[in-house]
């Protein structure tokens, strides 16, 4: 086996590596490419799933059924939509600035995806681990404003220009409050906690140093044996709340969806876009939603840590399968169980399908889907897969909660007025952010 292949295999099978660029450039490039491809496919699938889930959940919140025609329970609706968009005519207004009009969606997609470079899905599951990861992430996500301004300006139409101005004003206003909340989380990484594991790895002498590395931030939460959400209660909670509100505003989602306010601005900055260009904006919006949710999970909800990570329970020995705490074992089996439950739901759906031959293809398709979910559950029971994948599972589950919240907000809250939005951002979030920052620092001096 050649050297580079050996190091790739080592990296994939061992669970104590840190992502990054090592002495062997070929192997490093392959690891990086594996994660890059995983991220692009994973995020695309997540966006497709979100498309379906959002329609279904919103529909059920409004006592409707939502998509039901394309595939069982409309499961194939997003794919049908993607095909429709692909073969739809793409109009570029003749007064538009052609180059900028073309560049705007490309810029937005690149910025929305570049954020994923530093997101740690697990201690080893990231494209790379940078010492300025958090700063990189905030910087790149801010460039998204540029793409929106470009789209609005290049369209040379009233609604897009107004939409993009509103959008940029809103995004820059909430970015300040967001920055304050993030700094208070960075402060917490240098504090003392339950264990001294963190100082063994990253420490220098007596004083411990904070970190901006995304993996380092989760390691700090592991070492302090707490999620930063519960640190200095209620300070961590307030900082998290500020971030959670600001991230909805940053991604231009309801109730802060003024840039796309349908009743006033048609579709905001992407009014003039159609066909696949429009779908790039759609992709970027959902990718950005998942990205900011991942930042929130990493900073305050313990990243890849499972709930009750400090409890291990009595020792259990199962030959060739498990040796360790009983609670650890219970949580390690949750990913497989989740897929079995999903498979069960799909199976019940198959049984309850109308017994008419018009539904035969759909019934077979749903049964196949149930089998696929059950098979994934079986694969997740395998010890090596189980140990390597459960970090990703817990991370994704926490992100999924945020995605559900996004849909829930949209189904519940009425849209803000623009002056209310700016009032909330500048007169409430920023002072609260500064106060939380000062209090965290003051408490941190004693810890």
């Amino acid at each position: 086996m050649p050297q580079w292949l050996q190091s790739v295999v080592d990296y994939v099978t061992k669970s104590n590596n840190t992502p990054g660029w090592y002495a062997d450039p070929v192997a490093s490039a392959i690891w990086a490419l594996i994660y890059i491809i995983l991220i692009f496919t994973g995020v695309s699938i997540a966006v497709i799933a979100m498309n379906w889930l959002e329609r279904k959940i919103l529909a059920h919140m409004q006592v409707r059924l939502g998509p039901m025609r394309v595939g069982p329970h409309g499961l194939l609706q997003p794919i049908a939509d993607a095909l429709k968009l692909l073969i739809k005519e793409d109009i570029m207004p003749d007064q538009a600035d052609k180059v900028v009009f073309w560049l705007a969606p490309v810029t937005i997609v690149i910025t929305a995806f570049t954020v994923y470079i530093v997101i740690p899905f697990g201690p080893t599951h990231a494209v790379t681990d940078m010492n300025i990861g958090l700063l990189f992430m905030l910087g790149v996500s801010s460039i998204g404003v540029l793409g929106i301004i470009m789209a609005g300006w290049a369209s040379n139409s009233h609604y897009p220009l107004m939409g993009s101005l509103r959008s940029s004003a809103q995004m820059v206003s909430y970015e300040i409050a967001m920055g304050m909340a993030v700094v208070s989380a960075v402060l917490m990484t240098s504090f003392k906690g339950g264990g001294n594991f963190f100082r063994q790895i990253y420490g220098t002498g007596g004083a411990s140093v904070g970190t901006l590395s995304m993996i380092g931030i989760v390691r700090a939460q592991e070492a302090q044996q707490t999620w930063f959400l519960f640190k200095f209660f209620p300070l961590g909670l307030i900082a998290f709340f500020i971030f959670a509100v600001a991230m909805v505003a940053e991604t231009n989602r309801a109730p802060f969806d003024l840039p796309e306010a349908e009743s006033e601005l048609v579709a905001g900055f992407h009014t003039e876009y159609s066909g696949f260009r429009w779908s790039l904006f759609f992709l970027a919006e959902y990718a950005a939603m998942i990205a900011v949710s991942s930042i929130a999970v990493t900073l305050w909800l313990g990243g890849w840590m499972r709930p009750f990570a400090s409890l291990h329970g009595p020792n259990v020995e199962i030959p060739n399968y498990w040796s360790g705490g009983a609670i650890d074992l219970a949580f390690a089996l949750v990913p497989a169980l989740t897929f079995f439950v999903l498979a069960l739901f799909a199976f019940i759906g198959t049984v309850r399908m109308p017994k008419h031959r018009a539904f035969r293809v759909q019934t077979i398709g749903l049964a196949g889907f149930a089998l696929a979910l059950g098979f994934i559950g079986l694969v997740l029971l395998e010890p090596h897969v189980r140990d390597r994948v459960q970090d990703i599972f817990w991370f994704s589950l926490k992100v999924a909660v945020f995605m559900y919240m996004y849909i829930w907000y949209r189904g519940t809250f009425p849209r803000y007025r623009f002056d209310q939005l700016m009032h909330l951002g500048w007169k409430f979030m920023i002072p609260t952010g500064i106060a939380v920052l000062i209090l965290t620092a003051a408490l941190g001096l004693g810890s």
């Binding site: 109009i91 790379t128 139409s157 970015e175 500048w426 007169k427 001096l445």
Partner: protein, 118 residues
């Protein structure tokens, strides 16, 4: 660990390729028959009255200026937050002085009405 930044370039290449490739594929399969009405800016069915590149409210400009001030200040906080334990009381007091100056400016713009959106 500066060499850990190398994967960024790999990632950027893939991230650039995806929208470009999809746009090229879409261009190959979609119909394309534009005419003058279709290419007009969208104004809910009415012919556009004037150009969109007209004047807009100065409030957006004020927000942009305020953003630059506050965001640069947030960037100053990051290195301090990382070195917080090392700097100890000295760093804490210094940063409180810095934040106090900033808060005075914040109160001033509030009193001036720069945060009002009317």
């Amino acid at each position: 660990m500066p060499q850990n930044y190398i994967p960024i370039f790999l990632f950027m290449l893939v991230a650039l390729a995806i929208p470009v490739v999809t746009l090229v594929i879409a261009k190959a399969v979609r119909p394309d028959n534009p005419h003058a009405t279709k290419l007009m800016p969208y104004e809910c069915g009415i012919d556009p009255v004037d150009t969109a590149r007209a004047r807009y409210t100065v409030r957006f400009y004020i927000v942009a200026i305020l953003f630059v001030v506050f965001d640069v200040e947030t960037i100053f906080l990051f290195p301090w937050a990382v070195q917080f334990k090392m700097l100890g009381w000295f760093g804490f007091v210094e940063m409180m002085v810095f934040l106090a100056i900033l808060v005075v400016g914040y109160v001033w713009i509030w009193k001036k009405g720069a945060l009002e959106w009317v």
